[in-house]
């Protein structure tokens, strides 16, 4: 089996076997395929990119052509609480209204799992604060003008948003692109964490 992307490997461990999962922006379906093969997980990936869709089909992953930005529809196609988990990896920052989508995720699923690149990472701060230019890094590889990332946020931004929306954070992990959590990330995650992974649910 090929190496899973670091955040995906961690997420898989958070998902209970035999769950029903919706993966928003599922790419080539790597996570769902892994979950299917190792944890008997069922579910669907939503994707808009043609090549990704073709690759999902070729791996036997159920994929639904869907535009996550079509928020007039939201996820209204999906029934309330119809999934155990709704997962969105590295797509939050590409969505026009991430706040509304987070609420939709928790409408259709019991648990939400979200990952995003932390814009508060020290390299981003150096790039912006000292050099005065938008950062480019392995987790943010594109120039500002041709990036899909239109709503980058920091770990602190995300947690403030959850607080505002009444969303409860039940689990958090901060890793580097190689899936490692180092001591400094524990001490100051918003400075040393490159990728943030959250498990969320509706607050009381």
């Amino acid at each position: 089996m090929t190496q899973l992307r670091s955040d995906l490997a961690l997420i898989s461990e958070w998902i209970q076997p035999k769950s029903h999962v919706l993966d928003l922006g599922c790419g080539d379906g790597v996570l769902l395929k892994h979950l299917r093969d190792t944890r008997q997980v069922t579910g669907y990936g939503l994707e808009i990119n043609e090549t990704h869709i073709e690759n999902c089909i070729a791996s036997g992953v159920n994929v639904i052509h869907f535009d996550l930005d079509d928020l007039n529809k939201g996820l209204c196609d999906f029934l309330h609480s119809s999934f155990d988990y709704v997962v969105m990896t590295q797509a939050l920052q590409t969505i026009r209204r991430p706040d509304l989508l987070l609420l939709e995720m928790l409408r259709v699923g019991g648990q939400g799992i979200v990952t995003f690149p932390n814009f508060g990472h020290w390299t981003c701060r150096v790039s912006l604060g000292l050099r005065g230019i938008m950062p480019i890094s392995p987790s943010l590889p594109d120039e500002w003008y041709d990036t899909e990332n239109i709503h980058l946020c920091t770990i602190r931004d995300f947690e403030r948003l959850c607080d505002d929306l009444g969303i409860e954070i039940t689990r958090r992990a901060v890793v580097d692109p190689d899936h490692r959590t180092r001591l400094l990330m524990h001490i100051a995650p918003n400075i040393f964490g490159e990728i943030a992974i959250y498990q969320i649910q509706k607050g009381d």
């Binding site: 029903h20 069922t42 043609e50 869709i53 073709e54 994929v63 639904i64 196609d77």
Partner: protein, 378 residues
């Protein structure tokens, strides 16, 4: 006509006819005492009969889906783009069965066939056939061919409705269901188009209430009009614009009502060609079968309930510019399948050909279709 048969063609094919002596009880409560079904097959049935694919045809289709009947045939079967060695429905792997539905006019028993009770063509007395009846008759053909379970049942448009009905009516007899440019039921707009087509045929003075065979004529004008109307709804505004624009046949306007615009010439040609190959009573029957199809109606309008017992895995495909069977209609099927936690993939393919896109060679369509078919275990 092909000078040589292309390597990715199934080649020269010969239809076969099976005569069924066992009466077929129809949804309308009438019974067909005995009947013929004409069909073609492509590829080889494997030893454990697990590689069989059923193709269901649309309104004006028939059993001739791929290959050529002879070296003199101008065009191959209607879905030759998708059926053949190395094509999405790969005949080097699958055994493909394609039939002409009951009520058709290409060799299966239909209005043009002789009614044994009168020794005259059935004409308008041919019983109304529904999608369910077609699927039941197809199941009998499967029995004859020794196919207990199809690897997949595949259809576009009205053919997609048959595939869907297979999954509902015979959940154990197919592993995959591929529904293309279809809908779980017709909309009022769709029924309206069918009604205009039927009125065009029935109001033709040579229709004779459907008994035109006895008068040695056909309702040519009516059937032509019906086809012209249908054809407009199968294309998109964009495809008509790029195909014809406002181009004039002779470069200038003539201040009359003869054919002046290219699009008029095209429609008339399509209409006339259709009259020569299709029967008006069959057209009435097929459009009615379309109108009636509504599997959710037996479940308080809840499609998810109608689909609750299906076991097949689904691939649903739609095309962006198709307004006769729009993507939203396919998405109704997808939503119902997701709500009942069935296995389904859905792909909306960018295409400007309108409803006809499902017959066209479109790279993304081809790739998705091929990738799905290659995953099917045999």
């Amino acid at each position: 006509m092909p000078d040589t048969i292309p390597p990715d063609s199934v080649g020269i094919v010969t239809p076969q006819t099976h005569h069924f002596n066992e009466p077929l009880k129809l949804t309308s409560q009438r019974t067909l005492p005995h009947y013929d079904i004409i069909y073609e097959t492509y590829g080889e049935l494997n030893a454990d009969h697990s590689n069989a694919i059923l193709i269901c045809h649309a309104l004006s289709g028939d059993h001739h889906a791929a290959g050529y009947h002879s070296m003199d045939e101008k065009k191959p079967g209607w879905w030759d783009n998708c059926i053949g060695p190395g094509k999405p429905i790969d005949t080097s792997r699958f055994f493909v069965v394609s039939l002409n539905n009951l009520g058709g006019c290409k060799g299966s028993t239909g209005p043009v066939s002789i009614n044994p009770e009168t020794n005259k063509p059935y004409g308008p007395d041919f019983p109304m056939i529904t999608v369910e009846d077609w699927v039941n008759s197809q199941a009998r053909l499967a029995d004859v061919l020794g196919i207990k379970q199809w690897a997949a049942v595949i259809g576009g448009s009205l053919g997609g409705m048959q595939a869907l009905q297979w999954a509902i009516g015979y959940p154990d007899r197919l592993r995959h269901c591929i529904v293309i440019a279809s809908a779980p039921k017709l909309s009022a707009q769709n029924i309206a188009f069918n009604e205009i087509a039927r009125q065009a045929i029935m109001s033709d003075p040579t229709f004779y209430d459907g008994h035109y065979y006895e008068h040695d004529t056909v309702p040519k004008q009516g059937l032509m009009l019906a086809r012209m109307l249908g054809h407009v709804t199968y294309l998109s505004d964009d495809s008509m614009k790029s195909k014809f624009g406002r181009e004039l046949r002779e470069g200038e306007i003539k201040f009359g009502f003869d054919v002046e615009f290219q699009v008029e010439s095209y429609l008339r040609y399509q209409g006339e060609a259709f009259v020569n190959r299709f029967d008006a009573n069959t057209y009435l029957l097929m459009t009615r079968a379309l109108d009636y199809f509504d599997p959710a109606s037996q479940h308080n309008g809840k499609l998810a309930d109608a689909l609750s017992l299906v076991k097949a895995k689904f691939l649903v495909m739609s095309f962006t510019s198709d307004w006769r069977f729009s993507p939203e209609r396919s998405e109704e099927i997808v939503k119902a399948l997701i709500d009942s936690r069935k296995s389904v993939s859905y792909v909306k393919i960018k295409a400007n050909h309108g409803h006809d896109a499902f017959l066209m060679p479109i790279p993304h369509y081809d790739k998705v279709f091929s990738a799905y078919m290659q995953r099917i275990e045999i």
